[in-house]
Symmetry: D2
Subunit: 337 residues, 4 copies
């Protein structure tokens, strides 16, 4: 039985706590800490049977019965807490992105050197049933050598402007999942990127210095080319699709819906909209990533999303931003690290 | 160049005339006759370049340059004209049903005995791209031995009550195509039938002694079982589907639409309705059946839909009506012929 | 916190125990009993934290802290245990069918008279996301008045012959779910039935006196007509679909798959097969039915599947068997109850 | 009755001749000329009933009974013949591209000034049922303001290397249709383009100085952004799709197939591949474009694809090539015209 401490009891900290409690036989949430711990959250944590509930994550790091932590705090604190946890000898599951600051990621990498700590990054979409099926088709050779990758990722609605202002920009906040998806689906790194961005959803997003619509093309190390299209607001819901085209064919996945019902009337033949919210769409992937983290610790094997997998999408996002700012394709090698 | 005479210049006579003129290289419409020939129809026939336009089909039968006729007149005249044509040595394409009167069909069969005349019946749906694909999958063994056959056939709207009264009933008028479809898809005869009928679309249809909704089950000679469901009115258009299920799997076809467009909005994900009208849905099949008729004459080979294929659906329809009237399953052998 | 006792620790008893433990906040499994309790099952029960594990269900019925039981034992014991549980004042969730013996169901109904016990029957498919969507479209009027109902229900593989021999026949064992589905989707009772059956999957099933393939048509009290098609073996997996057609249109649901991946190669455009096993396909519905049972107890409201809903499909199955045996349509009123 | 002269009796000249003969009531092919006229082509032309068959297109231009010509000769001759035809007062339907040489297009534009000649360019895909449905959804506001346009266009197989060498490059030869599609679907011009190209299908294409795979992004005058992905070889056939995403939703079209048959076996659920060849896929669009050309002449109205619509895709293709060569986004205004 692996004892896990959860650091941060916001939305994603709650998701992981419930996953572990309900679905993961070999692990339990031994403690949770959040500086904003309140009565409602405490009651929720008690209902899950979490024995230690507090405000200070250091207690978790000091507890010798706890072997692993999940860092679910705000992004700007990820790296420092990760380093402390590594030094305390705890295995670390860190939510994405590790940091918006490349030097911080470097510090985490330094801390990991020579340690026996497992370090996994929370790119949960790799464990979604649809994207796993695409990856499998690519890996098993069904579609041959990869030529073209297409990722569509559109949110059901734009976040509040206050959030946009501190988000680090759409590429680091939203597209970062898609950058990871391109790497995951192809097993190849990105070498060059060109970003076309626009403000078409909400002018206030533009006034805040960000964009809300983008088409981003990439050259990959394996010679393939890729494209991501993003929007902060798809009127019909959360649009999450991918295609990989290769020398022997194509694999594509479409959206999940709440049922397969199709209603035919004089007005048309109507199916359900995509699941609206990322927690509905990706719920099973959150359990699966934690389950694999637990397995990697128990069996002392490689984690499925390592620190380089956490670093690369941040590098790509930085290059995308530079491309957008300078109106030209940018090589990854131009980003200093 | 095969010279064809068209007998009857109603809707289906026009369809065949245009098909031959536009698509069939080895044949031409040499004459057309209709007792109700009027100025509009004459102008239409002239625009197609039909050399002989008249009111009396006997002229066609007497014309030695005409090798074949297509009987597109009203159903009650099919058999008598067919017999005259056979005696005149003309190859015959006869619209479905040959007759609602089994003794008339017997007379046509007698007339054919010993003649060299080709006789084809107008079950055009056998030449529809979708149903051909089902038949092909059954024939080539893709789905193994046939176990279950399902045919859905629903019209976009009920015919006028005046038509219903003289139609011979839904089974002879509408379901007759589906009875043929069951035989075509399986290559097997029907041995027993049970019909469940209802008046749910329009009470006036019931008052006219007919039904407008039905589920009909059948036992086939090859051991399989089949079901047809019919409605005189599908609000979303012309619903024409089939499934065949067997020991190795299933083949199914869905409806054709005017485009593959799918529109996703906050109201749902909406595709196009099925093509509304049988002429849109089955246009290509009308050309194809005539083309194969012409080929059978030219190459002196078997026609694809012979007189027994014309007889069997009438026998099945009679048995279905008897089942509906008597509230019990009826064996085909109970229908006297 | 509702304390539930599980009677029977076979496959379905395990499913319900896990559902309650993992997903149902207001209930817990307080005890489990099975006459065949063995070490493996005991270890499994302990891993769920079930406090009382035994062989004798009477202990559960005698325990005053337990408010409800779930009867997951073999079918022939359902009714007697249900009656004992009712007399002990326990709320009862009884797996389907209540009994294959109508007089036993009558006894349960007698026992319920005057008691305050909630009694729910385990027709879980009513709580499947797809069938719920069909029911909703019917109920909210989207498709108008119901004219035609079609249920396809095919198992991925036939059960062992030993099971077939004691199963009560395909109609009571397998089709019973589909009979319930017709009632659920339409909200209407069945008044007459005609069954067409065949042995096409495995001759040994026929030798055991059963069938493995069927098309069953029904007249409903609301005037609509229905059809079920069944096979004990669909090569491509578990085929569970339904269509309801009405005056304003149609609603249809297709199968669930493990992903939406479509692979296009020179060999064709291939999607995933349906989920193979009923536990995969219907897992969420098992949780939902128990959750609603718990809610009905807590709020003292009607259960969603009551004893009449348990009785009717048995009556229909008896009528279907009589129809098959006698080769004629059978009215439900012919079945003595 | 409009008399049309066909200049060039290669593949596309034959397609247009047959369309006019079979489907267009108000026009006929009065003459055809091809410098390579041979016995087979002459026999084919005679079978269509074309009265004048020759080698010299000047005869057509001199014939006062001919009102319009269709220029179906090799691309390098289009512009010069067009100018001669305009001077002869003939309406002109010119195959795409008008020329690979912008100065030649300018000459044609000059020739048109002050004349009453109709001039239509052969971008037939605008008249495909699927793309028309997308255009209609955009125009009627169903999807709101356009934000993102995606066009997928992949050929079933690469052309011979000898053809590649004289094709003018993939952008002018193949992508030119897609550039037109972006303009057609959005009703907006392209202002800037960035092309990512690769040689992944066949190294010989690279040795010939061309590419076979590309992702091309564009900024449009209306603020939207667009992307085209191309491959010279899709193993599963001719892949022709489009999506337009806007403020109120999305419209998307998929490929046409020869039937809707879906075969489910233990190996998967398999549908048909896309229609393989452009003539199958786009046949109806070829008739429709000519029909609209004839109508524009008869009613003296605007042609649906005018000379500017012919010019713009050539400008875009030139900018795309410059982008590929220089590795940077290129503004349309950088291309001298």
């Amino acid at each position: 039985m692996l004892n896990i401490g959860i650091i941060g009891a916001g939305r994603i900290g709650k998701v992981h706590s419930e996953s572990i409690t309900n679905y993961i036989k070999d692990a339990r949430v031994a403690a949770i800490a959040d500086p904003m711990m309140n009565d409602a959250t405490r009651a929720w944590a008690e209902s899950l049977g979490i024995p230690s509930i507090g405000t200070d994550y250091h207690k978790i790091l000091e507890d010798p019965s706890i072997q692993a932590v999940m860092i679910c705090s705000s992004t700007d604190t990820h790296a420092d807490i990760a380093i402390e946890a590594i030094h305390a000898g705890k295995h670390v599951f860190c939510e994405k992105p590790i940091s918006q600051d490349l030097s911080k990621i470097k510090e985490v990498m330094e801390a990991l050197k020579g340690s026996n700590v497992k370090f996994q990054v929370g790119f949960n979409r790799r464990f979604d049933h649809n994207f796993e099926a695409v990856r499998e088709a690519v890996k098993n050779g069904s579609i041959g050598d990869v030529h073209i990758v297409k990722v569509t990722s559109r949110d059901p609605d734009a976040p509040p402007i206050e959030y946009v202002k501190v988000s680090g920009g759409m590429f680091l906040d939203m597209t970062i999942h898609d950058f990871d998806m391109v790497r995951y689906l192809t097993g190849s790194d990105v070498t060059e990127i060109y970003a076309n961005g626009a403000v078409l959803v909400n002018p206030a997003i533009g006034e805040a210095g960000d964009i809300d619509t983008a088409i981003i093309t990439m050259k990959l190390a394996n010679g393939a080319i890729a494209v991501i299209d993003n929007s902060r607001k798809a009127a019909y819901g959360y649009d999450q699709r991918a295609e990989v085209f290769g020398s022997k064919g194509q694999v594509a996945v479409s959206n999940d819906t709440s049922s397969s019902a199709v209603i035919s009337t004089e007005n048309g033949v109507t199916a359900e909209k995509p699941l609206y919210f990322f927690l509905e769409r990706y719920m099973a992937s959150f359990s699966k990533e934690v389950s694999l983290f637990v397995q990697a610790i128990e069996n002392d094997t490689e984690v499925p999303v390592n620190i380089n997998d956490g670093l690369q999408p941040v590098l790509i996002a930085k290059a995308a931003k530079k491309s957008l700012d300078e109106g030209r394709p940018v090589k990854l090698s131009e980003i200093e690290f």
